[in-house]
Subunit: 249 residues, 2 copies
């Protein structure tokens, strides 16, 4: 019987230094590991499905941890964690899983959502949760441009350098859906995996396509020429608008 | 030509010490008056439609100020304010109005919304913006109980003491609408005016009606006996769930 515990958790990214453990102790991982230490009396390491940057949110991030023993039933774990976590971070569900399950390596895909507020003023309830784009956006041009992302491509020119080389920059984007409700524009991207800052670079390119007639064509050029530098065309949408919606296993 | 400027503004109440000016300078009014001083070079006094408590939010609070002269067009004012305001506070619209207009005394009614999250865990995006009620709520019992509030009543037993005596505690509640969408329960109250903590005391009584069979009847007793003390039945819903939606003129 495995002592591996799978956690599904949600966070408002604003007060955290991203997912991955930081020296200042203010990463989501640090907060969770401190809560875990309070319950178990041990310093245990959590493994996340992926690292979200500072300011990026999650509705259902996934992590796992190997416990020394099953000290609590799985139904008791969320309350045990939440009792000492800040309100911006909640453990939603926990399950004991087989040791073949790994939060990162077992993941088969992810869904991200990006929120844009298309107006002159960002409402206070949207602060830290959306990108304010004041310029008018051509929704049809954005939808047409988004089609270029769908399929298997080398996304090297839609990735930022994290310091480590990535051996294979090919990824499959299954869908890019753009919705508009009032002033809120939502871009939802599903794929088998995402490179560092890939969604934010995709969103940056889509907003460019929505603002500048003809800019949508740049996306195809960049996907076709992943080795070439396109400095002028690379602008990264801010972290605050990005939400990790789901990890698929 | 009047130099009276009407402001419509929105705020996330979490970081503020309520509407009314405080010694620590952290009230919404203080933030607005500092922004105004930066633009005009003068210390001017704002008059709000009503004082919201610390933690209470506003989608469209109204205030007015008498300017020494029309230094900006009305369309320029929101950006002039917002340039030096924190993101949790935004001026949405400004208009020059006649001197007969007074943000507080001209108000003919208000609409408040109260948000309850009816589940065991409060999602991070709801933190500071909803009241977490874990117990099951009988929606029909709440709706029936809410009917007792509608009409003109003496709401003395649904008011907290603010230190000043209120000469007339009669108010007209036009409607109380209770909606449910997923785990989010919304109570929207429209009326000609509200006593101190009246909406939060009404919501507290409605949640009690939704939890305890027969408790709904207490509301009619309390409205019929405004002079009597009902200490056991008075519980105040937390500030975080309350939003001032609109001021009617």
């Amino acid at each position: 019987m495995s002592n591996r515990l799978k956690l599904v958790l949600a966070y408002d990214g604003a007060p955290f230094a991203g997912w991955q453990s930081q020296k200042n102790g203010e990463a989501v991982q640090d907060h969770l590991e401190r809560a875990l230490a309070r319950v178990t009396g041990r310093k245990l390491r959590l493994h996340g499905a992926g690292r979200t940057d500072a300011g990026v949110h999650a509705l259902a991030q996934v992590a796992h941890v190997d416990l020394p023993h099953r000290s609590l039933d799985e139904a008791q774990w969320p309350a045990a964690f939440n009792a000492s976590l800040v309100p911006a971070l909640r453990v939603l569900r926990c399950h004991y899983v087989a040791e073949t399950f790994h939060a990162r390596f077992s993941a088969r895909g992810k869904i991200y959502r990006y929120r844009i507020w298309n107006d002159r003023i960002l409402p206070p309830f949207e602060a830290g949760r959306a990108w304010l784009v004041a310029a008018p956006l051509d929704l049809e041009a954005m939808r047409e441009a988004a089609g270029a992302f769908v399929g298997r491509h080398d996304f090297a020119s839609f990735a930022a350098n994290r310091g480590q080389p990535v051996p294979d920059t090919r990824r499959t984007v299954e869908s890019v859906r753009i919705g508009l409700r009032g002033r809120r524009l939502t871009i939802e991207v599903a794929g088998d995996g995402f490179l560092y800052k890939m969604v934010r670079l995709m969103v940056g390119a889509l907003v460019r396509a929505g603002r500048l007639p003809g800019a949508g064509g740049e996306i195809r050029s960049r996907l076709a020429n992943p080795g070439r530098a396109f400095p002028a065309a690379r602008f990264v949408a801010p972290a605050a608008g990005l939400i990790l919606v789901r990890v698929r296993y």
